[in-house]
């Protein structure tokens, strides 16, 4: 089952909006190259910048969605966050968790599979975007501040493993 998801097109600016949040379509080339740029500039903290940009932008979207649809229970928010991930074309995940954190299994992944399509198998974790996504998803679900959750990969589709695994822990 998927969630209601209405995209409004602004006839004046030609922008797309979901519950007031401006959205845009991009491809796996752009995502993969952005991840690669962040990795190449890690000496200036670029991976953290990518994760936090993901966390802040997804937080904005989830908060707007939950407000517009009147979703207040943590369990329902977590489930919608999981569904939203698929609606946005980011892949498919299974989520187990509570306000202390949790574990996420990535069955399919735009970031990982896009990376493999573009560059081949990776020698390191590349799904920084999803780490940021999950930090936002848990924080908004449990009414916590940004940067509450420490999120890291322990298994990766991009590295050739059959499924990805991501750990979420409250600081």
């Amino acid at each position: 089952m998927s969630i209601p998801f209405e995209i409004k097109f602004d006839e004046n600016t030609y922008r797309h909006h979901v519950d007031g949040v401006t959205m845009v379509m991009h491809c796996h080339h752009y995502m993969s190259l952005t991840v690669k740029l962040a990795d190449a500039m890690e000496d200036m903290g670029a991976v953290k910048i990518l994760r936090e940009s993901a966390e802040d932008s997804i937080r904005e979207l989830l908060e707007a969605y939950f407000k517009a649809h009147g979703i207040s229970s943590s369990a329902e928010r977590l489930n919608i966050g999981r569904e939203m991930y698929s609606v946005l074309g980011l892949g498919k995940m299974e989520v187990f968790g509570n306000d202390g954190g949790g574990e996420v299994k990535l069955v399919r992944s735009h970031v990982d599979e896009g990376w493999v399509q573009k560059f081949g198998k990776s020698s390191k974790f590349v799904n920084h975007f999803t780490c940021g996504y999950l930090a936002a998803m848990f924080a908004v679900s449990f009414s916590r501040a940004a940067r509450t959750y420490n999120v890291y990969e322990t298994a990766s589709l991009a590295m050739g493993e059959p499924e990805g695994k991501i750990i979420v822990k409250a600081n």
């Binding site: 959205m23 903290g45 936090e52 980011l90 735009h110």
Partner: protein, 194 residues
């Protein structure tokens, strides 16, 4: 008849944007994602603000190159897609020029920019103007920030007039000459030979 942007945009914007049963969005020969623009703008803004002075140009070049390569491959996917063939190609009467106009209509439909071609000199130069683009939301004083619009404009011209795909990437460059983010009324982008 030539390619009419608004007609193309209206036809393409009604496409169903949603992940499939695997949560993926295959289309235009790529995997598509649909994200808040703030992810891309925050990343660019924070990268530039975090870079030490001696690295700022490297960051700007990196951001341009990400968009350039994306635009080249996705642009190829767009002009060879069923959607393009059915919606845009019936309007094409001026060859490469019209294909470019059509590609910019798709560019607009995807939410990248309300943009259009204002001048094309075959194989030499193109001028694009955009009345709205999401990168105008990046606020760094006095800095033009439309990496995506610039780089994709250059990449589309590579597809139209560079060596045959996939060997034409980087034949042309694009310079942003005006920007809403720096106080101009519109963004302007000039593509020329590298």
């Amino acid at each position: 008849m030539t390619v009419m942007r608004d007609k193309v945009v209206k036809a393409l914007v009604e496409l169903d944007v949603k992940g499939d049963e695997n949560g993926l969005m295959p289309g235009y020969n790529v995997l598509v994602n649909f994200l808040p623009t703030s992810f891309w703008t925050l990343f660019a803004e924070r990268m530039i603000n975090s870079a030490p002075a001696e690295k700022k140009e490297q960051v700007r070049t990196g951001l341009y190159q990400c968009a350039q390569e994306c635009g080249y491959h996705t642009g190829w996917g767009i002009i060879n897609s069923d959607e393009f063939q059915s919606v845009v190609m019936p309007m094409v009467t001026e060859g490469a020029k019209d294909v470019l106009r059509g590609a910019f209509a798709v560019f607009t439909a995807w939410g990248w920019a309300k943009s259009g071609v204002v001048q094309i000199k075959d194989g030499e130069r193109m001028v694009i103007r955009a009345q709205d683009y999401y990168e105008q939301d990046i606020k760094i004083p006095n800095e033009k920030m439309a990496f995506m619009v610039s780089a994709v404009s250059g990449a589309f011209f590579d597809l139209a007039y560079g060596s045959e795909y996939p060997n034409g990437l980087g034949t042309f460059k694009c310079d942003q000459t005006k920007g809403i983010e720096v106080g101009d009324d519109f963004g302007e982008f000039i593509v020329s030979k590298k």
